[in-house]
Symmetry: C3
Subunit: 318 residues, 3 copies
C-alpha cells in the first residue's frame, strides 16, 4: 500500500480485519519492521485520540516519530503560483511539502474542511498536495471529507461485538452547538457500504450527505423508525452539506439526542461514537455510561487501525 485516504486503499476488508486481529493479539510482533524508519505526523488541527493512537501504533512497529503541530494562525502556506509573497505567508507549499518529505519515510496529515470553499474541501486540496509533492507515502489522520482511520477502527469494533453475520447499523445525526465537518459520517458511510451490513442513515431534512458517500444506504428521516431493531447505533453530528447549507448548523433539535427511549426501540444495540462527544447533546449520560456503550473499546481500536495502515505502508516501502 502506498497512500491511505479512503476505504479502497485498503483493498479486501476481510484480509485487513484479519491483520487487525492478529496485531491486536501481539502489538509488538512487527517491532523490527519500522527500525530506522521515521513517521512525520503533521497536524493542521488539534487532536487527542489520533495523536496518541497513531504515535503508539508507530512505536509498536519500532518507528521513530516526529510530531509537527502547525499552528493554524502562525504558519500560513501560500498555495497560489504568481503571488508576490509580501504578506503574512512565509512559505509556499511547493517548497514546504517536499522539504517535509526529505526528513521522513511516511507522512500522516490532519487537515479539516475549512468551510470556505466547498470545491476545495471536497477535492481534498491539502492532502492531495502532500501526495503530489512530498515524495512520500501519505495517510489521512482526518482530511476534509474522510476520516478513514476512525472508520477502520469502527469496523474492527463492530466485527468484535456483532452477534449476527449481517447486523443492522444505524448512523444517526445528533445535535451539536458548532458546525462540524462531514468527514466522520462520510467516511463511516463509505466503509459501511463496503460491507454487507444492513446500513441505515437517519437525520433531519436538510442534513443530506454527499450522495457519493451515502451510496446504497437507506436514508430514513424518522429517527425512531430508523433505530427499530438496530444492532449498532452510531451517533454523530455534522453540519449541512447540500447547497447553501454547506458548513452551516441547520438544527439543534435535542429530540435527536440519543436517549434511553431511543435505545429502547433497538435490538439492545451497542452505542458508538468517535469521540469527543458532547454529553446530553449527542447522547445522554445514562446511554453513554450504560453497559451497551462501547465508545472506549472503539477508541482503543484506533491504535489497531493505525498500526495496520502503518504496517502495510512500511511493507510497501522500496
Amino acid at each position: 500500500m502506498r497512500h491511505f485516504t479512503n476505504v479502497n486503499d485498503l483493498g479486501d476488508l476481510k484480509a485487513a480485519l484479519d491483520e487487525a486481529f492478529e496485531i491486536k493479539k501481539d502489538r509488538f510482533k512487527y517491532v523490527e519492521l519500522g527500525r530506522n524508519k521515521t513517521l512525520l505526523m503533521i497536524f493542521f488541527n488539534s487532536s487527542l485520540r489520533t495523536r496518541l493512537s497513531t504515535q503508539k501504533a508507530a512505536m509498536n512497529l519500532g518507528m521513530n516519530v516526529i510530531v509537527l503541530d502547525v499552528n493554524q494562525g502562525a504558519w500560513k502556506l501560500e498555495t497560489e503560483r504568481g503571488v508576490i509573497m509580501d504578506g503574512d505567508k512565509t512559505e509556499h507549499l511547493l517548497e514546504a511539502i517536499p522539504v517535509m518529505g526529505c526528513y521522513c519515510d511516511i507522512i500522516g496529515v490532519r487537515s479539516f474542511a475549512q468551510f470556505q470553499n466547498k470545491t476545495d474541501d471536497y477535492n481534498e486540496v491539502i492532502i492531495n498536495q502532500f501526495i503530489k509533492y512530498s515524495g512520500r507515502p501519505v495517510f489521512s489522520m482526518e482530511a476534509a471529507t474522510r476520516h478513514p482511520l476512525q472508520s477502520f477502527a469502527d469496523l474492527i469494533t463492530i466485527e468484535e461485538y456483532k452477534k449476527k453475520a449481517r447486523p443492522k447499523v444505524v448512523m444517526t445525526w445528533a445535535p451539536h452547538p458548532r458546525a462540524l465537518p462531514q468527514a466522520v459520517p462520510n467516511s463511516f458511510a463509505e466503509w459501511m457500504n463496503a460491507t454487507d451490513y444492513d446500513f441505515v442513515i437517519t437525520h433531519p431534512e436538510g442534513y443530506e450527505l454527499d450522495p457519493k458517500f451515502v451510496g446504497n444506504a437507506k436514508v430514513e428521516y424518522d429517527q425512531m423508525k430508523a433505530l427499530e431493531g438496530a444492532d449498532f447505533v452510531y451517533a454523530k453530528n455534522w453540519s449541512g452539506y447540500a447547497g447553501d447549507n454547506y458548513g452551516r448548523v441547520i438544527s439543534k433539535d435535542r429530540a435527536w439526542t440519543v436517549s434511553a427511549a431511543h435505545m429502547a426501540v433497538t435490538n439492545n444495540a451497542y452505542f458508538m461514537h468517535c469521540l469527543p462527544v458532547r454529553r446530553n447533546m449527542i447522547v445522554t449520560d445514562d446511554v453513554i455510561e450504560s453497559p451497551q456503550s462501547i465508545v472506549i473499546p472503539e477508541a482503543a481500536n484506533r491504535e489497531i487501525s493505525a498500526q495496520v495502515v502503518l504496517k502495510r505502508i512500511l511493507e510497501g516501502l522500496e
Copy 2:
C-alpha cells in the same frame, strides 16, 4: 508499586534511597525494563524540570514517551454529570481519561491547585480521577497539594550532603510576587516527617500550612531563631492556606529573603530550593551562587527520583 502520589506509596524510605543510589551509579542498568512500554506525560500546567527529568528517566529505562500539553484555556474538560454540553467544553473527563489510558502503560499527570475551590484542591480531584478512570498506574508530576518527585529528589540530595546522621533541616517561607500553591512545602514537610531529621518550619504568621502536612515539625515564627544551627536551609514561597487566606499573598516582606546574614547563623548550612527561584526575592545572588548552594545537584536528582518511581511502577505491571 501501582500509583505514586505521596511518600507512603514508596514504602520503606531506606530501601528507596538505596535504589536511587544504585540507579545513579548506572542509569542504564534497567534499560530493558521499559522496552515496548509507553509513558504518557500529561501537563495541565507548564513545566521545565519535571518535563525534562521525567522524560530522561523514562528513556533511561528504555520506555517510549508521549508528551501531551493540555493548553489550560483551549482544552476544557467537563467534570459534572447531567450537564448539557453546549458550551466551550468539548469533552467529558469520563471519556477523555479512559481514552488516554488506552494508548499507554503508565500516566504521569501535572495539575496544580486552581485556588477556586479549596476542597477540590485538597481532595486532589483531578489526579484522583485519573487514578479512578484511566485503568493505568498514575504518578504525580506535581498535583494540587503535593510534589512527591521533588520531595524524593530533595531527600536524596540531603542524604548525599549530610554530615551527621540526624541533620537539622529548616524550611523557610520567603517572599514572591505571585500566589503559589502549597504543593512543594506540603510535600517536603510530609517527607521530612517520614525521616528522623530535626525538622523545623518557619514562616510569617498567617502562612500556617495544613496540620496534616506539618505533622510533628516544630513551627517557629522567628526566622533567625529557626535557622540557628541549621544544616540545610530549604527556602520556598507559598500562598496562604488557612481560612480566607487560601490562595492569597499575605506578605511580600523581603526581610524573609534568605541572605548571607541568615546563612551566618546556621551550621554552615547547604542552601536548597526546588527552582525556578526568584533571585533577591527568595534568596540573594550571593547565597545562591555560594559553594553551599546545592540547587543544581538537587535539580539533577529529579532524574533519579523519577527513575526509581518509574522502575517500581514498571516492575508492578502485570
Copy 3:
C-alpha cells in the same frame, strides 16, 4: 569536537565533507554511537527545517531526543545579577541553563538576533551563556550571527553539484517585507571564505555586512555584473548591519528579485536558498521551479550536516 558554532569548529573542511558523503551513503552506519545519549533541542524561535532535520539526524545516530519549545513571550529569563526578580521573569539563566544541562548529553540552541542591542547580538550572548553554564557540548541551530548547520549543508550541496574545481558562487541580497537577521549571509560568507571558490557578494548600498564575515569576498554593487558567469546563485535577504541601519529594512527594490533575466547572464547557474523563501520577492516562480533550482536537495542536506556535527560531538564525549 566539543562545541559547534562556526566553521572553525569543524576543522579541515575536506575531511568534514568526506564524512558527510560517507554518512549520506548509509545514514544508519553509526546508529549505535548515540545509544543512551540524549539530545536536548531548545528553540527560542520557531523552526521547520532545523527542527525536523536535526531530530532526524539524531535518530539516525540512535540518540534519544527531547524538544523544548521556549515560547518567546511566556518564558522570560533574567540575565542580570542583582535584579530583584519581582516582575515577569520567573527564572534566572544562571539556574535554568545548568539545570537543562543536567538532563541531557548534548544541547542544540536556536536563538535569533533580537535587534535590541547590536553588541549583545554580535557577542552571541545567549549561545555563549549555554556554552559557559550548561556543562554540555552546545551546537548552534542558528544563533544571532551565524547559522553554521545551514552553511555546512550549502557547502555539501555545492560540492555535489559543481562542475569545475573552483566554481563562481554569488550571494545576492533580495527584497523581503520584514527585517531579517544577518545570520545566514554572515555564515555563508564565512564558509565560502574557508573554501577556494570564487566568491562574490552583491547587494544595494547600505546593506554591507560585518567585514569580519565578508573577509576576502569581492563585493559588487551591480547585481547583474556580479551574476555574470556565476555557477551558483545564492539568494538571501538580510536587514541592515552598519551603523543606524542595524536591523532595519532599507530597500524593498524588486529589481533585485532573482528572475530569468538575472539567471540568463550566469553560466547556467544553480539557484540556491536556505528556505523558507518568499516567492516573487526573493525569486520568481519560474526560477525556483526551474531544473536549475536545487533548493530541495539543499534542504535535504540539512540532515547530513547535522548528522556530521552530532557524530563528532558524540565521539568527543568522555
